[in-house]
Symmetry: D2
Subunit: 341 residues, 4 copies
């Protein structure tokens, strides 16, 4: 397979590291340039795991530094910075896969409230395609030139709940999502809450009761599935582990359903989705069973008139860089699972 | 203070280890005998942490081995075994504090269904007092001679929700308790799910949708508070840490309430409860903030017509041995917090 | 590339799981049969991570169950069992890669003392080739039909020390290897020391002062390099993490050397070894930088007349299944790094 | 017991938190003031674990803010800051227990080289007493008014090796100390190496080959015991756990010795030392067995002419605040173990 030349902007975080790992084993990706605020830093110094494996140095982003022939740009930049970089790549003719949240919310006003900053690239917002392949019935991802890669919590939550709302089985205004994330989800910047002796051997909720910036993204997608506004109680928790998200979802059923009927529905809904596994029997998702994979494991139960749906993903894989590669594969006509096993 | 002689049955598990630690610094407790299935094992071999600190050896339990003068027996035995031992201690005139679940459920049939074994001491069930001091308005604990020490999940869950139901503010048939526990809650017996490389770096629900044996205990106490039957969705999760329980509770409000009104209500409800801390401002409970203490930290929020209540305890302290000592203090007329700081 | 059909015996442990993961992305390996003591168990039930990815069921091992056309057998069996199975595969014409210790020690008497069991396949011992590719100057691995895959501690320790002894720079009778391993090195069988609440948040040495079964293997290989008997102080420690080995080695220098001269020597010694990285500057090995890779990272320092050599590997990769694949690649004429990035 | 009023300077770090926990259960300590760079911060905001348990607010340190009647000052300040504060307390008539390294090294030039800063209180250096009670045969601690509380690594290392050198059994110029520490040893300031996703699931050496600032302290004390200069190879490692230090020490024996003879020697050396436990039989130290205690567990073996000595402490207890309380007890004529169980 001829490799497609791509560039990576923002190479120093965990999503970039994961992307490099995936790119190394992907038959169709060749990373040809790294854009950073720092000039000429070897990637092996930034990520010791990449020493001797990736022989690239960073360059400061400016239009003339974009290699001719590069076809795609993966943006692993922080929120707010991605929307400054995206237009430059689009203008240079590259297709952009943005792992930040800058193009995920269709309504700039919602973005500005959630992220507490102005949206500086409203012009490109309409052309952005939300890249959750399992919900892309229309195939918009394949044609996207600006792809908004979903957030980690939204991916786990939406994959868990979409079948219920798409089939009008549950009340989109009575949903609890109790989600738990490993610490890499907080990024690579040292902070007090992510200092080892603070978060190790501890479990705590944070940004509860509507305060988390991923909530509008979850509600946007669930509303689309439900064809009416979803209002969600979303509680994220920080768990002392490197990776993984588990979403425990509780949705009030509006039609009668059993575990068996829901499992059948889910299997049908995700027929052909190679990265969703509906668990059978007594099995329940665990973050370990999906670690370092692009899978989303889902189990369904029914109790007291509610559907209980549990989903697990690796926040850096299906929740970020794995999904980005999956989207890349679709955008460039490769096998959806190329490089993802 | 003159020390009260006590005995411990079942010294090899984690609740016993925690009890020894607490007893060592308690001004009024002296452990005078250990009862086990093994004869003559030094406690320092069973718990290396106790080497050189507790100079006791195990004895096989039989009536004549109970030291004269012993006033209380702490039962750290597995479920099913405690109810075999309790009568022997009661007959010998000791007051019994049972850390197992054998005397927690008032209805033996409910016990037998939840624990999948016959109840073999129904005769003593009526005299057993459920030992959650913060809900013991009548002071029954002080007079108990058979005290059923609450389970870890029930302690965290019930302390979080009792004020709502006691004041008829929430619907006891529409409650979700999403609870998370450290691994010591599973006991000291090695099993596949608690093997380090299986549960480390992983998070998973277990015994969901009504399967956990603590659910009837939670429902029993919440029903008493609500004065009508509570039916609860309870999801326990296993978290890769040694100790701690966090309960994230979601209850539908039946009367209008704000965060502020609920906080005021909780402060009033737990006025005088020295081990409950109602958090103010932005603070949210974490298991680390209560680790190795007898505290239960609680925070309340309101969203979409639901009360969100988060509570954290140390499962081995307030969730087991710390609460047992608190109950002991009450039963023997000591300061409620003696030995618990 | 046409895939080479292989079989796996002993599919339920961690080395087997890692082998499956590597095989899934290897361009030249196709697993065609699994041999176990259990008949007809789907591999996805044994390893939830493999659900939906590997569609194979176990078979009980007997000669007629070995698929015609299979070229190689990976033995992920426990010590003692591997030497019962190996002859059957050899007789059927397969080349055997044994991940156990059964064929590593050239002297059966040393094996029997270290492993406290009789060696039951002495006949095949002479033909076994010790598979540490970086030390296989003669290319014996390429021709092996019975390959003894090195142990995890020996791999880390020997790669750290071999250059010193091969160049007669250090005294092989004055060496301290202080090694630390993640818990997966202890296997998948639940035991008291690997029960989460016992080993989490703890660090301890074990099998010290000559008691560890890997010591004779380390001494055998170092003696070959030094061309005289090596006697080693080897202290393994259990570290609360899933994977990784770090060996901190202290060898008395017999000739004058500086950090710079040793680094140059190491770079030269491992020239062409694609999985050994000699770290420069201030960098020191960490198990995280090699996790999920086949690399061995090495750093050298000199202090008080000793060489200090630090090496890190992933015990399940370069310390087990990754190295097994590397050996497979060599044995079957593939690129040494195929499937290993 | 009448409580002795003490003050704490530097209340925001982990040693201060541990000190508060110990003070809470100590029968003879009452903390009456907290000195910090911040004015009027409640301690419960700084350490959530102390909410509702310690009702104190910080004050900026100046002479007139020191409460009359205060008898002792615990300095939990960073290195460099402690020596600015100590004179003020000494002048006010308080006895000072300094948990920093500012007064541990007798030779200011050695301090200045190790800590890369000038020593600004050389005048008080001679009166400082190094507070390792188990080695204080002369009872200097009891009379000290400026006590230098030992470092965590030195405490573990020196207690392991002192008996050998005091009895001239080992060569002080041929010693390897391979030490491992939990992450709280690095302090409470968030940094890249202590960011959870960086150090969790990882093990690595740091500051090797003479670079660690604790090495001169170790050599100073061992030299005193050996009555000649000790030169030590000291390798610290960072371990993914909250607390605990394990020192694995390798010393070349200069006289013939057996495990049994050394154990007898150690027992004799530490006769009466209530916080040193010499392990017997197969037992080996683990950090878990000493966690949250003031114990130092030690085991001795002999191999290839070397004594192998393993010691474990809790870095925040015997390695910092526990030892500080032990010193306080001695200084004020209390039972050495008061408040430490």
């Amino acid at each position: 397979m001829q490799k497609i030349p791509v560039v990576v902007a923002g190479p120093s975080g965990y999503t970039a590291l994961e992307l490099f790992r995936l790119a190394l084993r992907h038959p169709g990706i060749e990373v040809v340039a790294l854009f950073s605020r720092k000039e000429d830093a070897p990637i092996g110094d930034i990520h010791p795991a990449l020493r001797g494996r990736v022989d690239l140095r960073t360059t400061i982003l400016r239009p003339e530094a974009i290699p001719k022939g590069a076809k795609a740009a993966f943006l692993c930049l922080p929120h707010g910075t991605a929307m400054e970089a995206a237009p430059m790549f689009l203008n240079a003719g590259l297709r952009v896969i943005d792992l930040s949240s800058d193009y995920r919310l269709k309504d700039a006003a919602v973005y500005e409230k959630a992220y507490k900053r102005p949206h500086t690239d409203k012009g490109n917002l309409p052309r952005a395609v939300y890249g959750l392949p399992e919900l892309d019935a229309a195939g918009a991802i394949r044609k996207a030139d600006l792809l908004a890669n979903p957030g980690c919590y939204p991916t786990a939550s939406v994959l868990a709940l979409a079948p219920l709302f798409a089939h009008d089985l549950a009340d989109p205004s009575d949903v609890v999502i109790d989600a738990k994330s490993g610490v890499s989800g907080a990024g690579r910047e040292p902070t007090a809450p992510t200092h080892f002796p603070e978060c190790n051997e501890s479990l705590a909720p944070y940004k509860v009761a509507g305060a988390h910036q991923h909530l509008p993204e979850i509600e946007q997608i669930l509303s689309l599935q439900a064809k009416r506004p979803a209002s969600v109680i979303f509680t994220p928790h920080l768990v002392p582990m490197d990776r993984g998200i588990l979403a425990s979802c509780y949705a009030r059923l509006t039609k009668s359903a059993t575990r068996e009927s829901l499992e059948a529905l889910y299997r049908d809904f995700y027929k052909g989705a190679k990265f969703v596994r509906i668990l059978a029997g007594d099995a329940l998702p665990s973050t370990k069973a999906v670690a370092h994979t692009n899978f989303c494991d889902i189990a369904v139960r029914v109790q007291h008139g509610r559907a209980l749906v549990f989903s697990a993903i690796d926040n850096l894989a299906k929740g970020a860089s794995g999904q980005a590669v999956q989207n890349f594969n679709l955008m460039f006509g490769l096998d959806e699972g190329a490089g993802l096993e």
